[in-house]
Symmetry: C2
Subunit: 125 residues, 2 copies
C-alpha cells in the first residue's frame, strides 16, 4: 500500500500549508477550487491522518478540522494542545499551551481533543 502522488493530494497539502491553520473539509474543497470530488478529499484527509501528516480536530460544531502536524515527529505525536474556533470567522487555530490531564487508574488515553470556541481579536466587537 504505497502512497502515490496525485494532483488532488498535492493541492490539498498546499492548501493546508498556505492556510497555516486548521481547515474544515468544505473549506479545503473551496480552496482547491472544487476541482476534486468530495469523497476524494475526505479520503485524502483520512490518509493524511493515518500517515501522521495531519491531525484531526473535532470542534464543538461537530465538524472535523484538519491541520498539518508541525513540530511533532511521526513516531510521537504531541497533540495535547488546545484549539480555538472563532464563532465569527470560523477559523480554527492552534493554541500554544500544552496541557496534561490526569486520568483515573487503569485508563489509557488514545486521543486528546480540546477546543475552545469564542471570538478572536479581529471578530471581537
Amino acid at each position: 500500500m504505497k502512497r502515490r502522488s496525485t494532483p488532488s493530494k498535492t493541492a490539498v497539502l498546499s492548501a493546508l500549508e498556505q492556510a497555516g491553520t486548521a481547515l474544515s473539509h468544505d473549506k479545503i474543497l473551496t480552496k482547491v477550487g472544487d476541482r476534486f470530488d468530495r469523497a476524494t478529499v475526505y479520503r485524502i484527509l483520512n490518509r493524511f491522518c493515518d500517515d501522521g501528516i495531519t491531525h484531526r480536530i473535532v470542534a464543538d460544531d461537530g465538524k472535523q478540522y484538519f491541520a498539518l502536524c508541525e513540530g511533532c515527529s511521526h513516531e510521537a505525536h504531541a497533540h495535547n494542545h488546545f484549539h480555538f474556533r472563532c464563532l465569527g470567522c470560523d477559523a480554527v487555530e492552534c493554541l500554544s499551551s500544552e496541557v496534561t490531564v490526569g486520568l483515573p487508574a487503569g485508563y489509557r488515553a488514545e486521543n486528546f481533543n480540546g477546543v475552545i470556541s469564542g471570538y478572536c481579536a479581529g471578530c471581537e466587537a
Copy 2:
C-alpha cells in the same frame, strides 16, 4: 415562555440522573424506552442546555453528549473540565481535573470542550 412539566421531560431527566454520566441522544431515547419522538427528545435536551440544567459535550466522534450540571450554579457555569469517552463501552464521564488555558490577547472564550478518548479500566484488555 414558562416551562411545563411533561412526561417526556421527566423521563429524560431521570434517565440522566440514573446514568450519572453523560449520555448521547440515542442512548437517552433507548433509556426512556423509545416512548417519545426523536425530535422531542432533542428539543428537551436543547431546552435543558438553555436552562442550565445540562451541559453539552461534543465528543471526538462528532456526537453530542449531555450531562447534568452538578456543582455549577445557574449563573456561573464552570465547565472547564475534561470528559473521557471510552472507545470500548462508549461511556462518557466527567474528569475531575479543572483546566485553565491561556488565550491570546483580545480573545474571548465562550465555550470549553475537552474530550479525551481511550479505554477505561473495565474495557482495557
